[in-house]
Amino acid sequence: MLRLMEKATPSSTVILLLLFALMPFLAPILGEAFYVDVFARIMIWSIAAVGLNLILGYGGMVSFGHAAYIGIGGYTIAIFSFHEINNGFIQWPVALAISGAVALLFGALSLRTKGVYFIMITLAFAQMIYFLGVSADKYGSNDGLNVWHRSHFKLGNVNFKIDDNITFYYVIFFLLLLVIYFTRRLVNSRFGMVLKGSRSNEVRLNTVGIRTYSYRLTAFVISGVICGLAGVLQANFEKFVSPDMMDWPRSGELMFMVIMGGLGTVFGPVMGATAYLVLSEILSSFTIHWHLIFGPLLIILVLYGRGGLSGLFGKSND
């Protein structure tokens, strides 16, 4: 199974997408209605993973704090909802804008460092956001905040609700396709080429005259916004947010999804998220102590599953 995850081939991509598309129909047939929920969750995480992969897989920026942007997106929705502003046309753009703004700030500072310092500073910044959530007594602190109403899109003649789970499922699916398509165009463009080059040999790229910092920062912001979108969807889907959704184990899980699926491929993160979540579901249904198996499994994956990531990254990154 680990081999399967190494390369997202066209056929496996199509199969998985078809699975996503048809799940609402398949689930009742299989007699497991909750599969729709499981796959909605998988798609939401896939969106976040695609976002992280942009900078991790293509740009070689190992951000250990991207769950923070998921949290920012989610909490924005929850806070709006708390103050009884449920219009999606207000909530969503603001949530994405804040995610982007915070990514801009954190990215601008973090990208002045590299290697392990970068890993640690992104982690620490994410912790700041986490603690912000924990200390926000008004908004639930550790207990979290309920989102009583899903976003409601109301403007002029438009009156769109996502209260129905199936409808929302397809909204998520559509957004996933959009994010994948957008990422695909991005990585094949001039911008994408510079980004990939900066992972391969940043010094050389600067020497020929390209200021890689601006490109990497832009990519960082875009990836923050995409994760913010995932957070927006999660808040709406679960109708609940809590600081846990942005703690550093979440960031670690996100990294695992990206790596399992294949760094530097557009569809890989989707496969990785699917594999990670399906594996978690299966294992946790066997025993409450599933971490005992999952932990070593992840270690083995890191060591052998992708033929060693060092080959793709090279220690020269430090």
Partner: protein, 265 residues
């Protein structure tokens, strides 16, 4: 770019220095890598820097290209002070460099390696939409450079798979593609055999007429075949500077080289 005046070096024509350093000093802990270096590279000339290992040649190039900042001193390029400018800015001003230890993009095709330089000189890189792999505005100029260097046939080969000599050629190509006014070449012939070196020397000879160059080299044949001016560095200090024939005859230089290098004949 070609200054006919360089042949009239005897003093008739005024040529300006394209690159000029003033009292560049750089120390690492207790080790002095650059000791009050002041040199000038005249427009249209090839200026070679030679010296035993550890003389501070690579440090000098790193300071010139911006990878290192000097402790003190100034660098002027094309009448602009560039001492503290970041490397990408210096490249944009026309100062290109190649690396002693090959520094290419190994996972990309040879052509794409040069495309990066083409991208660098274009202002329009924050383009998110159009794919690059069939963009002729990038590929055609890149192919031209490769042809000039002699790597045209290898355009689609993954750069990591090129032979060592070809990689060294690619190094030059990447620098050339930025349309520089001046090239900083750090041991372009590093690790090359006799035949490959000859090819490189001919190449550099050809380029001589279009680009000013600062050349660091150990290969004395190359140095004396190409250089208009030679500066000798020992322990970070400039012990001699002048035309090749003067350097050949210089006592101090002979002393510095005896035991370190092939005799300068």
């Amino acid at each position: 770019m070609v200054e006919e005046g360089y042949r009239a070096f005897s003093g008739k024509v005024m040529i300006k220095p394209l690159l000029k350093t003033q009292n560049i000093c750089k120390a690492f802990g207790g080790i002095i890598a650059s000791d009050n270096l002041s040199l000038e590279v005249m427009t249209g000339q090839i200026h070679a820097i030679i010296g035993p290992n550890g003389a501070g040649k690579t440090t000098l190039i790193n300071i010139l290209s911006g990878q290192l900042l000097p402790d003190s001193g100034e660098i002027m390029f094309n009448d602009k002070i560039i001492t503290r400018l970041r490397p990408s800015k210096r490249a944009n001003l026309g100062l290109a460099r190649s690396f002693q230890i090959t520094s290419i993009f190994p996972d990309f095709s040879t052509l794409d390696n040069v495309v990066f330089s083409i991208l660098a000189r274009s202002a329009h890189n924050f383009r998110f939409w159009r794919p690059t792999n069939n963009d002729d505005r990038l590929r055609i100029p890149a192919l031209e450079i490769l042809d000039r260097i002699g790597l045209g046939a290898r355009a689609e080969v993954i750069a990591g798979n090129l032979a060592h000599g070809e990689k060294r050629q690619l190094e030059i190509a990447m620098a050339l593609a930025t349309q520089p006014k001046m090239l900083l070449l750090d041991e372009p012939m590093a690790g090359m055999g006799a035949e490959e070196s000859q090819t490189m020397i001919s190449l550099l000879n050809e380029l001589k007429s279009d680009y000013t160059m600062l050349l660091i080299e150990h290969d004395m044949d190359a140095v004396f075949a190409l250089a208009d001016q030679i500066t000798v560095l020992v322990y970070g200090r400039d012990i001699a500077s002048g035309v090749p024939s003067d350097i050949r005859a210089n006592e101090e230089v002979r002393a510095a080289y005896l035991g370190h290098h092939e005799e300068i004949t």
